[in-house]
Amino acid sequence: MTRGGLLGAGCAALAGAALAAVLAGPVRLAPGAVLLELAGRLPFVDTHSGLTSQEVAILWQLRLPRVVLGGLVGAMLALAGAAYQGVFRNPLADPYLLGAAAGAGLGATLAIAYGPDTSGWPVDLLPLAAFAGAITGVVAAYALGRSGGARTTTTLILAGVAVAAFLTAVQTYVQQQRAETLREVYGWILGRLTTAGWREVVLMVPYALVSTVAILLHRRLIDVLAVGDDEAASLGVRATRVRLVVVAAATLATAAAVAVSGLIGFVGIIVPHTIRLVAGPSHRLLVPLSLVGGAAFLILADLVARTVMAPAELPIGVITAFFGAPFFALVLRTARQVA
């Protein structure tokens, strides 16, 4: 397929997933009425969908923001995953590689255990703390990885492992001290879109935009890094600088996603790898396709999460891991056969 064809197919898949997710849910809304209601919000269109005010609230305040947020979170995780795998030349790299997950977990736990009552505030403390925690974790890993002198990606990854282990230890300690917070912390770690609203969407959009633009602009340079840092230097590309910018942007994307949805695993691994299998390894196509593919994948995963046991919810992390883990094994097998 051509480049345009692949992108077109990706966007069509995203549109299809979004439409299915808006039409289906634990509460049955007549599909025709939903489409009329949606069309009615377009300028110069005036329709009467026949939905009750309660159903309108379900559609506009619960279902739609959840679909939009699921798409944003999925896009950011897949984008960050593709970027990390590119700059670290490591197929197992994922958005949580450099301590973002552990940092966010600690931030969220601290906010839950010691945070003041924020019910009157315009924004919750929890997403802010998780966001700050994720950024802190990665900055610490980066500082540690570079202070060793060697600027290899391996040092950086190992520094990420060390930082993650340390932050997780602190988080577990805090959790033990305040056992009454276990339930909420656990719920957060499992990942959730259950309580998604427009507020979370608004919170996330600016970071999503900045990271997307930054990584899209650097996608050709990530391709150059594939030949190795020294060779890249001979081509006039400063590998460490590119890596810093891309990691910073990917971290921003990850932190924003984690802040509003907790830790949702596997999206950052399986989406970019599937796209590599279909469209090849070049980041020119991989990055934009990861964006739309990640969005479509998480929207569908969330659709399963909220309908398969309806009216009960399944944790979304269970869905992504259920499909993600076997897939991950498959990718490993293929990679070994190629090597």
Binding site: V27, Q54, L62, S119, A179, R306, E313
Partner: protein, 290 residues
């Protein structure tokens, strides 16, 4: 060499007599009854104090915050430390959950234990009260308390029997985890003839499903009970501020009830207080409806 033993024996006897004299506060307690109880269960703590065995309790876990005179320590019931528990030299340890090695460890030290898991119904509660009464020498008080609870609950239930059952949603945390009517707390609502909106959602039969917000809005319960006010800072105000929730009958008619998380999650004597709170709200909601 024999004679010097006699004064020593006399001294020991005097000490024992003195100790027995001090014991006069716990009437009827035989010498074999535990004097150094450690409770790792907040419900058991409440029961022990309610049946007059409070004097025999030397330490309670960090979550046993009621009654105020309970000797609260930093002992953890989630991560019990056998050495720390043994440090109180207990002659009975009451617990509700064993996360692993608690019973095995105490057995090794020959410390008697009493396991009282979360009650599945009120009869379970009464049975546990009876067990504690037997174990501590307060069987009569325990029997009386159970009888009083039964009578009060029957009275509350008889007074509150609405013609059309009120529907309710009992919130355990803000991710919409809830309890169905077959759980202990759900059966208490049943006593008042109420209908749980979560029953349809309990596909795996755990009794504690997570609901989707869409479903709660559609079900539009008459009353919303928040058992996540202390743990998670929820209130009538935060519920009203949730997306789409301002449409709900309960939110518009003042039917969002802020419970005490502790009272709503224990199966001790305070279930009567819980039922009184709920019954009062049922009356208000009835008045609103008619």
């Amino acid at each position: 060499m024999r004679r010097p033993l006699l004064p020593l024996l006399a001294l020991v006897l005097a000490l024992v007599a003195g100790a027995c004299g001090q014991d006069g506060t716990t009437t009827g307690a035989a010498a074999s009854e535990p004097k150094r109880i450690v409770s790792l269960s907040p419900t058991a703590t409440e029961m022990l104090f309610a049946i007059g065995a409070g004097d025999q309790v030397v330490a309670v876990d960090s979550n046993s915050n009621y009654p105020a005179e309970a000797p609260k320590t930093d002992l953890s019931a989630y991560q019990p430390n056998i050495e720390a528990i043994a440090g109180y030299k207990p002659d009975l340890v009451v617990y509700s959950d064993d996360p692993g090695e608690l019973k095995a460890g105490l057995d090794k030290l020959s410390i008697p234990v009493l396991h009282q898991p979360a009650a599945t119904d009120l009869d379970d509660s009464y049975a546990q009260l009876g067990q504690l009464g037997q174990a501590t020498g307060h069987a009569d008080e325990a029997g009386q308390l159970a009888a009083t609870m039964r009578a009060e609950i029957d009275k509350i239930a008889a007074a509150a029997r609405p013609e059309r059952p009120l529907t309710y949603y009992h919130e355990l945390d803000k991710n919409l985890y809830t309890a169905t009517s077959k759980t202990f707390i759900g059966q208490l609502y049943d006593q008042l003839g109420m209908k749980n909106i979560a029953d349809a959602a309990d596909k795996d039969g755990s009794g504690y499903p997570q609901l989707s917000a869409e479903y709660v809005i559609k079900a539009d319960p008459d009353l919303i009970f928040l058992a996540d006010t202390k743990c998670c800072g929820q209130s009538a105000r935060t519920v009203a501020a949730r997306d789409g929730w301002n449409e709900l009958t309960a939110v518009r008619t003042g039917g969002v009830v802020e419970l005490d998380d502790d009272v709503a999650s224990r199966w001790g004597p305070r279930v009567v207080d819980f039922l009184k709170t709920v019954a009062a709200k049922v009356q208000t909601a009835e008045a609103v409806r008619s």
